[in-house]
């Protein structure tokens, strides 16, 4: 097979979708450089010295085991857990693709299993469930192929691999086991272990990709990893202890933040009064300049959070972050709103558990009226009515919301008056910037009144924002 004619390869090279051909020398070194390039494209700092280390490391391990190969790269190229995550995803894509590309190059096709009609679906379901429970990797891969053949016939695939994977999973009736915290109900007899189920889905996804490549004889274009892989919690069932760990870490980082500037003079303001007084000792000549002491800015915060269903988790998370950082601020008052607005500062002071807070906000705050849809206009009017007198130029108003009014009057002028009363107004939108002002999002109406609008849907962005907020040098 390896001897298929080179002429055919050259002729085929125009078919590779958007992929450039393969310039440059063949061999492992070139592949590794390409991998490093892709990693840089994802924002991982891979320097020359890392690459040299990687080569050294690869010389020291055997290449027969994929695991060792990957770990050797991991230890040398990825220098944090996030980097490692990126590497793992890229590694799969890169080396999996490398095989596929070779196959397209050489015009190879797989022996296809074609007995799809003969498969008894009930039987297949049972076998797949058993294989997933047993966690056997090879068997899962084989069954994934069978499943695709069997269910591929019932209707054409949607063309979107992610959708097809879920469709196949559903028609197989596979469910992951409930989280342990779900309570005392009896375990579902049909459920399978979550991790193994994911592994099975992974196999189905790969097989579908393989089929797609065979069908189109082209590789799908390389697409940057979506930042969403590292996104903020977006559903309440997510692991909250993980979230708290992030917060705890952020707190420590913020506490040590600014220390690198210790002992260095930066743009200090001269204290004229003290300088004059000191100059009396030198006969009125101001030899010794006195500076005004630099005091950290501790802002007074008013945080308004949208807690309608579309953004609940993000905002409760955000509020709990702020409350964890409470000592960074002079004063912190938090409000939540859906159709009405309500103050929840004391809830956060009393409750430590994230779930308890969510529950109390959901039951006691009384923010949802009839429809349960956000009404930004009404919220501004109410806020103006009740709180605006407390605002002064030292206070900062932070709004967290997606600015989706569900077609109601935005009352941007009222928001303008709030912004006027406060010293700074910042808006944090948990949606990616791309989606702003589409549909019922009226971000553009509020944006002119804000001192800053931020998209904030990853922990990194959130950390950067909180950093800005608590920054000693700000304003």
């Amino acid at each position: 097979m390896a001897s298929s004619e080179p002429a055919g390869r050259r002729a085929n090279s125009g078919l590779y979708g958007g992929m450039p051909g393969r310039p440059g020398p063949p061999g492992m070194a070139a592949r590794l450089l390409e991998l490093a390039d892709e990693m840089r494209g994802e924002g991982v700092a891979v320097g020359t010295s890392e690459l040299l280390d990687a080569f050294d490391a690869l010389n020291a391990v055997s290449w027969e085991s994929q695991e060792d190969f990957r770990e050797a790269l991991g230890a040398t190229l990825a220098k944090s857990q996030e980097d490692r995550h990126v590497l793992d995803v890229l590694f799969d894509r890169f080396f999996f693709r490398a095989v596929e590309r070779e196959a397209v190059d050489r015009g190879l096709t797989d022996e296809r299993f074609t007995g799809g009609e003969g498969i008894d679906l009930e039987d297949l379901r049972e076998r797949i469930r058993d294989a997933i429970r047993a966690g056997s990797d090879g068997e899962m891969r084989d069954l994934a192929r069978l499943a695709i053949v069997a269910f591929g016939r019932q209707g054409e695939g949607s063309g979107v691999i992610g959708v097809d994977v879920q469709r196949i999973r559903r028609s197989l009736g596979l469910r992951g086991e409930r989280q342990q915290s779900a309570g005392t109900e009896l375990p579902d007899p049909d459920a399978v272990p979550r991790d193994n189920l994911q592994q099975f889905e992974q196999h189905v996804r790969r097989e579908l990709e393989r089929l797609l490549i065979e069908r189109t004889r082209a590789l799908p274009p390389a697409r940057p990893l979506r930042e969403l892989d590292r996104a903020l919690p977006s559903n309440p069932a997510q692991d909250l202890s993980e979230v708290h760990r992030v917060v705890a870490q952020m707190k420590r980082r913020l506490a040590s933040h600014g220390r690198e500037h210790r002992g260095r003079r930066r743009s200090w303001a001269v204290d004229v009064r003290r300088t004059m007084r000191a100059s009396l000792q030198t006969g009125g000549v101001p030899l010794d300049l006195k500076y005004r002491p630099r005091r950290p800015r501790r802002p007074e915060l008013y945080v308004l959070c949208d807690v309608s269903t579309s953004v609940t988790s993000a905002s409760v998370f955000f509020l709990s972050v702020l409350h964890a950082l409470h000592d960074q601020f002079r004063k912190l008052r938090s409000f939540v709103f859906v159709e009405r607005i309500s103050e929840v500062t004391d809830v956060f002071e009393r409750e430590r558990s994230f779930t308890a807070v969510s529950r109390r906000i959901a039951t006691d705050a009384g923010v949802a009226d009839v429809s349960g849809y956000t009404d930004y206009g009404r919220v501004w009017l109410e806020f103006l009515d009740s709180v605006v007198d407390d605002l002064d130029p030292r206070s900062t108003v932070i709004v967290l919301g997606d600015a989706r009014t569900n077609g109601r009057e935005p009352h941007a002028a009222a928001f303008g008056r709030v912004a006027e009363a406060a010293g700074r107004t910042l808006w944090i939108n948990p949606e990616p910037k791309l989606y702003w002002n589409y549909g019922d999002s009226v971000m553009a109406a509020y944006e002119p009144f804000c001192n800053g609008v931020y998209e904030c849907w990853t922990t990194k962005q959130l950390e950067a924002f909180v950093n800005d907020l608590a920054d000693l040098r700000a304003g």
Binding site: A45, G47, S49, E50, D53, D56, A57, A60, V61, E67, D68, E71, A72, G74, A75, T76, A78, K79, S80, Q81, R84, Q180, S181, T184, P187, D239, L240, S241, H244, R245, Q249, R252, R253, S256, R259, E260, R352, S353, F354
Partner: protein, 301 residues
Amino acid sequence: MSAGGLDTIEATRDALAGAGYLADERTALVSFLASQLGKPVLVEGPAGVGKTELAKALSRATGRELIRLQCYEGLDEAKALYEWNYRKQLLRIQTEATDAGWQEVRDDIFGEEFLLARPLLTAIAAEEPVVLLIDEIDKTDQEFEAMLLEVLSDFQISIPELGVVEARTQPLVLLTSNNSRELTEALKRRCLYLWLDYPSVDRELEIVRLHAPDIDERMARRLVEVIHMVRSLDLKKPPSIAESIDWARALLLLGAEDVDQAVLEQTMSIIVKHRTDLDLVAERVGVKLGDGILGAGRQAG
């Protein structure tokens, strides 16, 4: 450059196991690479997953001496590298005849005799290869990190009065961090990276059984499962591996037959060390144990 007993990945793992440390694939590989490439290893991970223990095990496995530098805020060169023994120098000068030339005295008092070696210098100057553990590097400030760069990349220390002290043997260097602040790129670049996480149920079970060999297999599994359940809660301080070993030993001493609600409530304080955490664990885990839900679906394992 290789260290005794760490010649292949399997040998590394076996050597570590012989020293009482059950390493997973990744840990064994990185330890092996560290000894082969002579590069320092930066070990990160939550508290209590055995980062420091890894260094100790490496020292036992290779038969090298362990030199430990515990970092803290404000740690400076005098505590980490070397210091001149001023008092001894003073005494030396006083006993010296007054007519001795300055040159002579200076050569005399800046000799190795008056040098107090701190951990880093000790490790570099050691005759036999050593394992150097720089613990909790994230507790120091950035200036200290910068100072470490020379030591870590060239394995040498320059002392102005004496010249450069170069390493005679290649030490095996481990740095640990709890990730409480971002380390500088320059430091990371010089290190291999290893992320240690809490072990899987099976691995932790092996670890517990290794350190508390008398414990009954079934009970050990149940104990580890409870520990994992406790870790999955939102606690201020999740139990570490050392604490699960302690707990296993304590249960053995008490002669407990099974990990049930009553036993958990009596001995919980061994694995959970905060008041609020105690309440949470009693409420969430204790109730489950009481109902006998846990373990019902897991007999197969």
